[in-house]
């Protein structure tokens, strides 16, 4: 019962900010006016904010920006010993630096390192925190570009990437992150530039307690659905997430932008009900998955949990079952990947639920921006399927979905399953997994499946018992993150360009309404069916087998 009230409070808070934040973001991305500080940014960087870009230019900007981001972040880690506040942690090893650079630029924030002994505070702030902001802003920019494809008519221009990037960062993420960071400090989260504090324990022994500039990264890590912690235990560490209130605040931050972006979409599309329909599909799947994970963790069937009396292995007392299940569902239903409990120690069904959340394609409600464009892709697929059934050229938001549009959508949709299944399959067949698994049997297979699902979906959480420090894992997981991020982005921008070029067709009596329950059911059914048809064999060998054992 207290757990349900906790969930209720979260939903009320999301409902309260839904309209103002959604409307604010709609204004941010459609306003003609530049703020003074933004004008200064454009002047210094010699970018023309007035120019509208062709989708290929927009895509080049996304790719170019991400490429230089990877390179700079890689160099920062490799040159760590030259930076202040490195505490002698030395250059980050090449494999880790490569994987981490890709991981943070692709909004994945998979961590194959122990931050307390690997990353100094300068790399954390100047490298990792920066990409927490910028990868999130890139996701929102791409989503908005796709929305423009639907709303514009007869043009080959879909916006200006630099303007979208700067506005998303300065008008949305920065102010929200700053306020959230202060709130988190007030609730007990650390924000220290020291490496640690020495203490003499009550029993007379001595310890050093690791410290870090936590709050500034914690806020944007959740808000930007990033997930990379400044401590190894991530949001389970008491300095990142010290009590029930911070837990609830962090879950709220994870959900707030992806949820509110459906409102932004509705406003920009000229009919808010388009947004409500998407939100209802996201919410229904999210709620169902929460019920599964929560029930599974509260009713464990594994021998260790039965012996202990509850599934508390890998969970913190202050969060308990309810607070851990809620966080797990929020972090895997978005592409966040922060954890306040160790998913590897979840029950077969509960852990399987977190994997399935990712395999839906991160759209319930998904990452910031990525969730919106991913569900719009599924909407295109759903309308295409509906069109096949009635024998009419499908339309969505007044745009015909012809061969080119459906091809783009199909590529965007299929990229993730391809990299996940190829990656996990190869890792299982090749000798790569020998000795790296932390658990035997079907759970070991789940560890591998989780790793590639997490990388391919840019989530970043893990069944963390798996050892991924080998070159094989660092490289293949890095590539999965890249392909899982940029193939859909390219396809989405191509789709945006082709939609924008079309003239909007008027509604007729034959147009399938896309604001009602019929469309919501079709969309939800498409999301679930695609994931089920693609992944049930893999899930059956791992989590399903474990849950039935």
């Amino acid at each position: 019962m207290p757990g349900l009230l906790q969930l209720g409070l979260l939903l009320v808070a999301l409902a309260v900010v839904y309209k103002p934040l959604g409307d604010h973001m709609a204004k941010v991305y459609s306003s003609e006016k530049h703020w003074r500080v933004e004008k200064a940014v454009y002047r210094v960087t010699r970018v023309d904010p007035g120019s509208q870009q062709h989708w290929k230019t927009y895509a080049s900007a996304v790719l170019g920006f991400s490429a230089v981001s990877v390179i700079l972040l890689f160099l920062l880690q490799r040159l760590q010993s030259l930076l202040p506040l490195d505490f002698g942690r030395g250059p980050v090893p090449v494999g880790v630096a490569f994987n981490t650079a890709i991981s943070f630029v692709t909004n994945t924030n998979w961590q194959s390192y122990v931050p307390e002994s690997t990353m100094g505070h300068t790399v954390q702030m100047v490298g990792l925190t920066v990409q927490n902001f910028l990868s999130a802003a890139v996701g929102m920019a791409v989503a908005v570009a796709l929305v423009r494809g639907f709303t514009r008519s007869g043009t080959d221009r879909i916006g200006n990437f630099w303007v979208d990037l700067v506005r998303g960062t300065i008008r949305v993420l920065l102010p929200m992150a700053f306020i959230s960071a202060i709130v988190l400090v007030a609730l007990g989260v650390t924000m220290s530039l020291k490496s640690g504090v020495d203490v003499v324990n009550p029993d007379g022994s001595s310890s050093t307690i690791a410290l870090a500039p936590t709050a500034s990264q914690e806020a944007i890590k959740e808000l930007g659905t990033n997930g990379g912690g400044v401590f190894n235990a991530n949001s389970a560490h008491p300095f990142e997430n010290p009590n029930g209130w911070t837990n609830l605040v962090e879950i709220f931050l994870i959900m707030v932008i992806p949820v509110s972006l459906t409102r932004t979409f509705g406003v920009l599309a000229g009919n808010r009900r388009h947004g409500y329909v998407l939100l209802s599909v996201m919410g229904a799947i999210w709620g169902a998955m929460l019920a599964v994970i929560w029930w599974a963790e509260a009713h464990p069937n594994g021998p260790a949990a039965l012996l202990a009396g509850a599934a508390m292995e890998g969970k913190e007392q202050r969060f308990g079952i309810a607070g851990s299940a809620l966080f797990a569902n929020a972090t895997t239903g978005t592409s966040t990947g922060a954890v306040n409990a160790m998913h590897d120690s979840f029950t077969g069904l509960g852990g399987g639920g977190t994997i399935l959340n990712m395999l839906f394609g991160e759209l319930t409600p998904g990452g910031v921006g990525t969730g919106l464009y991913s569900i719009l892709i599924m909407a295109v697929i759903a309308m295409f399927l509906a069109g096949l059934m009635v024998g009419r050229t499908p339309e969505y938001l007044g745009k015909k979905l012809g061969r080119r549009e459906v091809t783009c959508a199909a590529i965007a949709m299929l990229a993730m399953p391809t990299v996940v299944l190829l990656g996990a399959g190869a890792a299982l067949v090749l000798p790569a997994t020998t000795g790296v698994l932390n658990n035997p049997g079907e759970h070991g297979l789940s560890e591998v499946l989780y790793a590639y699902a997490s990388a391919g979906n840019n989530n970043g959480s893990a069944f963390a018992g798996i050892t991924v420090t080998s070159d094989w894992f660092q490289t293949t997981l890095g590539l999965c993150m890249l392909f899982g991020r940029f193939i859909p982005i390219l396809a989405v921008l191509c789709l945006a360009g082709s939609l924008a070029a079309q003239k909007t067709v008027p509604r007729t009596a034959g147009t399938l309404p896309t604001t009602g329950p019929l469309f919501a059911t079709m969309l939800g059914g498409t999301v679930v069916l695609v994931a089920a048809l693609t992944f049930i064999p893999a899930l059956a060998l791992g989590p399903i087998a474990e849950a039935l054992a």
Binding site: P2, F65, V68, V126, S192, D203, F231, A308, R318, H443
Partner: protein, 202 residues
């Protein structure tokens, strides 16, 4: 290709400038505000001092070790995956869980070992040992235990410290936090605070 090159050059300029804003100015602004009285103690790790000596952090659990295990005067934290033994302290320089699955035979054996050790230490029936006492936390640094695990330890601590059980129980109650507004989070007993209070008594 030239387009990609041109955009990358603009991207580099943009990246450097946005790095200054989000990677230098933003964290320093948060840090500066966190120097305000009332926030600074939190920001620096909620350190607890006794007579001017830092004795730990309110938020970090490090299981105390008894010099004489037969006369153990401490309330104990939850197990830490960072400890090599079944029970015993982890290292607050790092953090993490065991990541063992509930069907893993190693974990089953470890839980059984903890149940037996704790039942023996407290002189109770193994069935009475609560779940949080025998499972490693996610962080390995859980500062809290359940009220049930605290209650289990009251008779032993009272006996070894020469205090009445009621007195110790009152101290446990003082260091117990309920759920926020009655429903946020879970009830917890802060082990460091409780141990310091009990130690001060006797």
């Amino acid at each position: 290709m030239t387009q990609l090159f041109k955009q990358s050059a603009a991207g580099l300029r943009m990246l450097l400038l946005l790095t200054v804003i989000t990677g230098v100015l933003y964290p320093l602004a948060v840090w500066t505000v966190s120097r305000l009285p009332g926030l600074e103690a939190n920001a620096e790790g909620s350190v607890v001092t006794v007579n001017g000596t830092a004795v730990g952090s309110e938020l970090i659990g490090r299981d105390p070790v008894a010099s004489d295990p037969a006369n153990d005067p401490w309330f104990h934290n939850r197990p830490s995956a960072g400890s090599t033994d079944a029970l015993g302290p982890g290292d607050p320089k790092t953090s993490g869980g065991s990541n063992k699955a509930t069907g893993n035979a190693d974990l089953v054996a470890k839980v059984q070992e903890r149940v037996d050790l704790i039942a023996k230490r407290e002189g109770v029936d193994p069935a009475k040992v609560p779940a949080d006492a025998v499972t490693a936390s996610a962080s390995g640094l859980d500062p809290d235990i359940s009220p049930a695990y605290a209650e289990l330890q009251v008779p032993r601590v009272a006996r070894v410290r020469g205090l009445t059980e009621d007195r110790v129980r009152a101290l446990v109650a003082e260091h117990t936090s309920g759920r926020g507004l009655g429903f946020v989070g879970e009830p917890t007993v802060n082990v460091l605070g409780l141990n310091l209070a009990v130690k001060a008594q006797g």
